[in-house]
């Protein structure tokens, strides 16, 4: 058997077809033919792509590569996007996900032709969803464990203090009022701690709803810096470098993003030796992950401080709730947990590494 390009074409799992400027199919591979439900390639060729392939009367909503008025192809457009459609016979209306790539090539007569590749990425999306669900469950498990531990301290304190008082009464020892006053103070402290822990859990698990708008991230960062400088005055030096358009927008909630950066600043300041000055480098740039298959770019904000660094044995725990190294001073152990939670809700992730006295957080807004 002679192997020609048509054979190669047909062996792909993706739907591949070529369309001319009037949206008529020039060629299609076997998966595309199977998908259309037609038996012969001739039934596809020279037919309108949306009719023959998708049984639609109108062009597909997502497709914007054709200029409808001029019956031509918009130049210099290489599209790559995702669509989801409801599974036709699925009782619960599950979605199927497709990645669609449209490339413009030119034929012998130098006429533009659109090569369209449609990949079914449902499986990939489902895996991703499952991963997100599992991550949430793991996070919940960690939270429950931390809460159980956190509650054990004040509860034990309450119980032992009461045993003290009970013992004194049992022994009929005369109890002086200062002793009782001090024990009441301790009971109150433990009670307060208990109720704090409970209100913390509530705030995590009643899903907070907040407005998502287009926000100009550069301005949001400027405001965060202003706010933190107002609180901490001179102890903080910030080197702010912005390597993309100052009008770059992301979808999010401004005050929540400000909260993220204030928490990061506070974290640096509280980690540093008292009276020392902390320098923070804040860098905004477009980046791409070597891991992801397409070179999709995203906004990365790097936050680097020189507040002492994080040792390797605890770096994996710094986002855990109630994890703190701040010597019983101000640290609740919830700052970075909150940062991660807000970013999670913004479809962003935070990664961290540390060398010497420097710690770097990379906030990736996808």
């Amino acid at each position: 058997m002679q192997i020609n390009s048509q054979n190669l074409f047909d062996y792909s799992n993706d739907l591949i077809f070529a369309v001319n400027s009037s949206r008529k199919i020039i060629n299609a591979n076997k998966p595309a033919l199977d998908f259309s439900g037609k038996k012969k390639r001739k039934e596809l060729e020279k037919h309108l792509c949306y009719k023959a392939l998708f049984s639609r009367k109108e062009p597909c909503d997502f497709c914007n590569i054709f200029d409808n008025n001029a019956a031509s192809i918009k130049n210099n457009l290489n599209n790559s996007f995702e669509i989801s459609i409801e599974e036709p016979d699925d009782p619960v209306g599950r979605l199927r996900y497709f990645n669609i790539k449209q490339h413009i090539v030119y034929d012998d007569e130098n006429k533009p032709v659109v090569i369209e590749v449609i990949s079914d990425i449902t499986r990939y999306r489902q895996d991703e969803e499952e991963y997100a669900r599992n991550s949430k469950l793991i996070a919940l498990g960690t939270l429950i464990q931390s809460v159980a531990h956190e509650l054990a301290n004040p509860l034990t304190g309450l119980s032992l203090t009461l045993q003290n008082i009970e013992e004194k009464i049992d022994k009929e020892v005369s109890i002086n009022s200062d002793y009782i006053k001090n024990k009441i103070r301790l009971l109150k402290t433990d009670l307060k701690k208990t109720s704090h822990i409970i209100s913390d859990i509530k705030s995590f698990h009643t899903k907070e709803t907040y407005e998502i708008d287009k926000i100009i991230i550069y301005e949001t960062l400027r405001e965060s810096i202003k706010e933190i400088k107002r609180i901490y005055k001179k102890k903080l030096k910030i080197q702010f470098k912005w390597r993309l358009g100052k009008d770059y927008q992301i979808s999010g909630n401004k005050s929540k993003i400000i909260q993220v950066f204030i928490n990061l600043f506070k974290n640096s300041l509280e980690a540093a030796e008292p009276e020392s000055t902390v320098t923070v480098w804040l860098i905004g740039r477009m980046a791409n992950d070597s891991k992801s298959e397409d070179d999709k770019k995203f906004l990365e904000v790097q936050y680097i401080d020189n507040a002492g660094g994080i040792s390797g044995d605890i770096i994996s725990r710094i986002f855990d709730p109630y994890f703190t190294t701040k010597k019983g001073k101000s640290g609740s152990g919830l700052g970075l947990f909150l940062v991660q939670k807000i970013l999670f809700e913004h479809n962003a992730v935070i990664e961290t590494d540390s060398r010497g006295k420097h710690t770097r957080f990379r906030l990736k807004f996808y």
Binding site: N153, G157, L186, T189
Partner: protein, 345 residues
């Protein structure tokens, strides 16, 4: 335990290290009438106090430390004390799962770890301190005030103890063991609705140790079980009748919501090291398989199961002389994590 017995405890020194103020002060207040007590909320201060006590040639007899301190881990304090070669006993308290520290506990041979929860009793902390320091370790009466313990000649005609009573029986044969296991299981079921399977599991385990594993000839071979060479298994003899010197005591009773089962044998064959090792094998996960090593055989599973099922298990051991395993079960008390409590003299 009446207070008047403890006049001479005043010579012993205890250091408490705990960063929750109420817990620190509660333990301190409770122990103060009996011992010389110092208390601090940080490991740095604890180190200074220990150093000072050495310089004054009056080191602490016992250090009770929280594991998760605000400045450093209480585990570091253990290392510091061991490094200084002090005879100081160490007891840890924690609100975390002890099982997370099981490897450290095994390696450093920590014999007392208490977990923090709302049922933790100051009296139990006192008993732990008293036993660790004085080496007077045996007896269930230390844990329960005004409990009455009856031995065979004094026992009433009934075999059913009232509240705050513990009955003792002497086991001389396999038949004795079977008969008393059945009786005790029935009493616990009738009086406290304890499932027979649970009582039987506990009684089988503690008596198997006293009857089959502990008694040995002078050359170290087992008296009442055989090794089957081909399968490397130990099979107990049938219809065992114990020699007089191997007879052991089984105690059972109640104290309010507590169910008490105790086994005392005259061998003292268990050791702190072995108990901690057995718990470790069944608790710590092997890095290769992700499962506890103990799963591959049954060695030491009994001790692990006792601890899992009961509210508290206390081992009192006088090497080659006496072993006492105290099993305490309180169906009303739900304790998140179990203590480790092994006293060896």
């Amino acid at each position: 335990m009446p207070v008047k017995d403890f006049e001479d405890l005043k010579k012993y020194k205890i250091l408490i290290v705990e960063d929750v103020e109420s817990i620190l002060l509660a333990i301190k207040d409770y122990l103060m009438p009996y011992f010389i007590v110092d208390a601090t909320d940080s490991l740095t201060n604890a180190e200074d106090l220990i150093q000072k006590s050495i310089e004054e040639k009056k080191p602490y007899d016992l250090v009770i430390s929280d594991i998760n301190l605000s400045d450093k881990s209480g585990l570091e304090l253990v290392k510091i004390i061991k490094k200084k070669n002090l005879k100081t006993k160490i007891a840890l308290i924690t609100s975390y799962d002890i099982n997370d520290y099981i490897e450290f506990i095994k390696n450093e041979e920590i014999d007392q770890v208490m977990t923090k929860h709302s049922n933790l009793s100051l009296h139990d902390i006192f008993v732990m301190a008293y036993k660790s320091i004085t080496q007077d370790i045996f007896g269930i009466e230390k844990y329960f005030n005004d409990i009455k313990i009856y031995f065979p000649p004094e026992m009433k005609r009934t075999i059913e103890p009232e509240n705050k009573e513990v009955y003792s029986v002497i086991i001389r044969s396999m038949n004795d063991k079977i008969m008393w296991t059945e009786r005790i299981c029935k009493i616990l079921k009738d009086k406290k609705k304890i499932p027979i399977s649970l009582s039987k599991l506990v009684l089988d385990e503690i008596t198997a140790n006293a009857m089959i594993r502990a008694p040995r000839h002078k050359d170290g071979s087992y008296k009442y079980q055989e090794i089957i060479e081909e399968s490397d298994k130990l099979i107990p003899h049938e219809n065992i009748v114990l020699q007089d010197e191997d007879a052991f005591i089984l105690q059972y009773g109640f104290y309010n919501d507590w169910i008490i089962l105790v086994c005392q044998d005259p061998h003292g064959s268990l050791s702190k090291k072995e108990i901690l090792y057995r718990l470790y094998r069944h608790t710590a996960l092997c890095s290769e398989t992700g499962l506890p090593k103990g799963l591959s055989d049954t060695h030491g599973r009994g001790i692990f199961l006792l601890r899992e099922h009961l509210t508290q298990v206390i081992f009192n051991i006088q090497k080659d002389k006496k072993t006492e395993v105290i099993c305490l079960y309180n169906p009303v008390q739900n304790i998140p994590y179990k203590n480790i409590s092994v006293f060896q003299i």
